[in-house]
């Protein structure tokens, strides 16, 4: 574990981002966390990284309900970019929604590895890290 795990949090709620960062830092020994407050901002971040050929996030925790651009639109835009570098990113929907419709919809995006209800537990986080091959 020389390289830190690079995680991008996309959520409009700053407290959520704060809490989530805290939790991830507590559970994962070597982690770098960046934050975007909606889908649009996240996209811009990714584009900037692409143009600089910088390291991509390993994992994105994506909220669904956000202003400007919500989680679904973000996923659509990302798919449209159709970039092999981007396709290596592991995306998790991280939402407070327990709505069945959202779960069903999430299942239609092959890119989405899982839909996780807030808040996650240490066990879940470690499982995710392992699933992503770290």
């Amino acid at each position: 574990m020389d390289e830190p795990i690079n995680i991008l949090l996309v959520d409009d709620d700053s407290i959520t981002n704060f809490v989530t960062s805290k939790a991830l830092q507590a559970y994962i020994p070597n982690v770098t966390i960046s934050v975007a407050s909606n889908g649009q901002e996240a996209l811009e971040k990714l584009r900037a990284l692409l143009s600089k050929a910088a390291a991509m996030p390993d994992i994105i925790f994506l909220d669904i309900n956000m202003p400007v651009m919500d989680g679904w639109e973000f996923l659509n835009e990302l798919q449209k970019m159709n970039d092999p570098v981007l396709s290596k990113i592991n995306i998790y929907l991280y939402t407070s929604s327990l709505y069945v419709e959202d779960k069903k919809r999430a299942a239609t995006y092959s890119w989405v590895k899982e839909i996780i209800s807030k808040p996650f537990s240490k066990k879940q986080v470690l499982g995710i890290v392992e699933d992503c091959g770290f």
Binding site: D13, I15, K22, A26, S97, Y99, V100, S117, K118, P119
Partner: protein, 788 residues
């Protein structure tokens, strides 16, 4: 006058049945008993030579009888107008010898402006006359006239106008110039105007020139005329017309009627009877032989000269059928009630004084008259003496033959009467059934575009029996435009595509302008070789109340669906928006460094933590309820009760062990087709409840029992706990956040949740309980195959 009948002709043998006819034909004017079709005497008699001989003598005697009557005089009939199909019946009676058979020599006088029929008859220039129902005005004015019979059941008078004038209803006549004649149907047309609330002063009335050119060149905007004559003449000239018919506005007068003077009716009623009988017979013939009569009429003086063609006569005949109704009404039939109605309209228009009564106006063929009686006595005497002579000459042979024949006749009459009675009874039954069901009936002759609408059908929509034109157009006018497409398509299918039945529920316009829902059912009765329907018939049923209820219900359902969607949306947003901060709170609490808290703060923080945990649990439960309600995606699978119970017990094994709970199970029904999720939810809730509400000093025992009960598989979970006071709490126990024991920490969610889940699958849960003894929860599942 062609073909006047000679008196001498009455010696012909045929006179025998004719005479009997005349007696049988004595009719009440309302309903009469006809002997036609029964009198077959001469033909059959020929088969019996002896009898023939005897009868010849008898006929001779009857010829005397006829002779007495025929002797009276030649008879003159004054027509209302010049020769046209309007009088076909009288020509037929003449040329077919019906008058002759009655011993009458009839001369028919064409009418014109200088020969008004009533005046002609009153002045003695004719014995009988034809005029319109305005005869009643003459009667009211004191003219000694009697009406004998009505030929036209409906009046042919209409307002006619050129189509481009767009005069389609009485109100369109306001401010227009109209050609009319006081004695040509004016009363009924005026009655229609007044009934429609039109002041006749607002219409300019010019004397009638009876020249269609005046309408064509615009001298008049409209004129009065016959629906059967002038409309055709104009159309034929290429002038499309509109006409307004009083019958469509509730004014229904008789058309042509046959009349004579009081004097003739009183002194020679039998002459009147013979004349009218032969005339009606002539009408029956004429309406059945339109072509032949048209050819004949063309030979009458003045007809060709006026430019009348055969085609025009045929058109007139067709139009007259609707007015005479030969198939429906006995020709000549009159109804005193209708005359009274016509008189009343005249009174209300102040055309006749209020005190006029109908008594004496309508000829009664059965009335006894002294003068008459005297004649009859003489006739009777002659007959009796002749009979005595026969008896003397031929012994009793004749008597027996007559007796036998009379018996046969009586039998025939009885059989016929019996059949008629039976027919009447079955007709009455049908009428009763139709009335009871409130059915309207219609019958559509597609080719001729004639529809019969029953009076019930009209009444259903608020129309009187004489309102609404009998055409498909009046139906289409009533039909709500929303149904136009559907009905056109269905009718098309029905008529052309061999679909024998169709029904539809549509809105029809009532007279008061409101819409009424009506069920229409139709059946095609006759089709031509191409499969085209020629006649359709069917019913209308008033389904207004049912349909409106249905619409109301569907609105209600829509509203409920909407509310339901809103609620789900609301619940979703609420739970989501609440969950996010709660989730954060949970995490924040976790990262709190409580080491530096004072003891007091630490215990307060402990409580904050507890509150957040509860809040989180509640939100999760609410979500669970929503999810179970929304998702019908509950997969059904075969569940083994024992396995499910054991897995539930394993998941709470610590609790079971620590409370020393024992479970006694009896699975009479071992398996069920059901949703695992719901079953587990039921079991975990009921088992944990049973443990939670245990008695403090007694080890909990839970009985789990499955069995069959009628259509259901039953699962019962019974405990020996503290029980519930159901009298106090009743079914609130299944309500949201109901807890019934302050000592126990429950969130009151479980029972509400499982009841919801169970009912979402159309099953049921109930409870019985005795405080301090325990509770028994019973779930009734429909048998598997019923779950679909």
């Amino acid at each position: 006058m062609a073909g006047a009948t000679s008196i001498l002709g009455s010696r012909h043998n045929n006179n025998m049945p004719a005479t009997l006819f005349a007696i049988g034909k004595l009719n009440s004017g309302i309903k009469y008993f006809s002997l036609r079709g029964i009198i077959i005497l001469p033909n059959k008699a020929e088969k019996h030579p002896v009898m023939k001989k005897q009868l010849t003598l008898f006929f001779l005697c009857c010829s005397c009888f006829n002779y007495l009557h025929a002797q009276s005089k030649e008879v003159y009939l004054q027509l209302k107008w010049w020769h046209q199909f309007q009088f076909a019946g009288y020509y037929a009676a003449d040329i077919k010898g019906f008058y002759k058979e009655e011993g009458l020599n009839v001369r028919i006088i064409a009418g014109d402006k200088d020969h008004p029929p009533v005046k002609q008859v009153l002045e003695g220039k004719a014995n009988f006359g034809i005029t319109g129902s305005d005869l009643i005005v003459n009667y009211a004015n004191g003219d000694p006239v009697k009406v004998i019979g009505a030929i036209f059941q409906h009046s042919p008078y209409v307002f006619i106008s050129r189509k481009e004038k767009n005069i389609v209803s009485p109100t369109d006549l306001i401010g227009k110039t109209v050609m009319a004649s006081e004695d040509q149907g004016w009363v009924q047309l005026k009655a229609m105007l007044i009934k429609e609330g039109i002041n006749t002063a607002s219409i300019k009335i010019d004397p009638h020139t009876w020249n269609n050119e005046d309408l064509i060149n615009g001298k008049a905007d409209a004129m009065t005329g016959y629906v059967s004559v002038e409309t055709y003449q104009l159309e034929k000239k290429g002038i499309p017309v509109n006409y307004i018919q009083p019958i469509n506005y509730g004014i229904d007068f008789y058309g042509d009627v046959l009349f004579c003077t009081n004097d003739l009716a009183n002194k020679s009623p039998e002459l009147v009877n013979r004349f009218s009988y032969a005339s009606y017979k002539g009408w029956e013939y004429a309406m059945g032989h339109i072509n032949e009569m048209a050819d004949y009429i063309l030979t009458l003086p003045g007809v060709k000269e006026r430019g009348i063609t055969k085609e025009a006569l045929l058109y007139e005949a067709e139009a007259m059928k609707k007015l005479i109704l030969p198939e429906l009404v006995e020709i000549g039939h009159m109804n005193e009630g209708r005359w009274q109605h016509i008189l009343d309209i005249h009174k209300s228009l102040k055309i006749v004084p209020e005190n006029i009564s109908l008594k004496g106006f309508v000829f009664d063929p059965m009335e006894k008259r002294n003068a008459d009686l005297y004649n009859w006595i003489i006739i009777a005497l002659i007959i009796v003496s002749l009979f005595m002579l026969f008896a003397f000459l031929y012994g009793y042979n004749l008597k027996n033959a007559v007796k036998k024949r009379t018996l046969e006749l009586t039998n025939e009459i009885n059989i016929r009467r019996d059949t008629e009675d039976k027919l009447k009874i079955s007709e009455e039954r049908l009428e009763l059934a139709i009335a009871a069901a409130g059915l309207g009936i219609w019958d559509w002759d597609v080719q001729r575009n004639e529809i019969y609408f029953s009076s019930e059908l009209k009444a259903m929509l608020g129309y009187g029996p004489a309102e609404l034109a009998d055409t498909i157009e009046s139906f289409m006018y009533l039909l709500h435009p929303d149904h136009n497409h559907e009905i056109n398509q269905k009718l098309n299918d029905h008529i052309y595509n061999k679909r024998d039945n169709y029904d539809a529920i549509v809105r029809l316009k009532m007279k008061d302008g409101n819409w009424k829902w009506v069920l229409i059912m139709s059946k095609a009765l006759i089709r031509d070789e191409q499969g085209r329907a020629l006649r359709l018939t069917g019913i209308h049923l008033d389904v207004d109340k049912i349909k409106k209820k249905e619409i109301e219900l569907s609105h209600l359902t829509d509203e409920l669906m909407h509310t339901n969607r809103d609620l789900q949306q609301f619940a979703y947003i609420t739970s989501h928006n609440l969950r996010a901060p709660v989730a954060n709170l949970l995490s924040l609490i976790m990262f709190f460094d409580r080491a530096e808290f004072s003891e007091n703060n630490d215990s307060l923080f402990e409580k904050v933590d507890l509150c957040v945990q509860k809040l989180n649990q509640t939100l999760n439960d609410v979500n669970e309820v929503l999810t179970s309600r929304v998702s019908k995606a509950n997969q059904f699978e075969e569940l083994v009760f024992e396995k499910e119970v054991n897995s539930i017990l394993a998941s709470i094994s610590e609790e079971v062990a620590s409370t020393r709970t024992s479970v006694i199970a009896n699975y009479e029904v071992p398996t069920i087709q059901y949703s695992r999720k719901v079953m587990d939810s039921i079991l975990i809730n009921l088992v944990t409840n049973a443990i939670k509400y245990r008695k403090k000093d007694v080890d909990p025992i839970i009985h789990i029992h499955t069995y069959l009960e009628a259509e259901n598989i039953v699962l019962s979970v019974k405990d020996n706990g503290i029980g519930i006071n159901l009298e106090r709490h009743g079914n609130k126990i299944f309500g949201l956040y109901q807890r019934f024991n302050a000592d126990v920490d429950g969130k009151g969610m479980g029972l509400f949740l499982i009841k919801n889940q169970i009912e979402a699958l159309h099953d049921s849960i109930s409870v019985s309980s005795i405080p301090n003894e325990g509770s028994n929860f019973t779930i009734r599942f429909k048998k598997q195959d019923l779950h679909g």
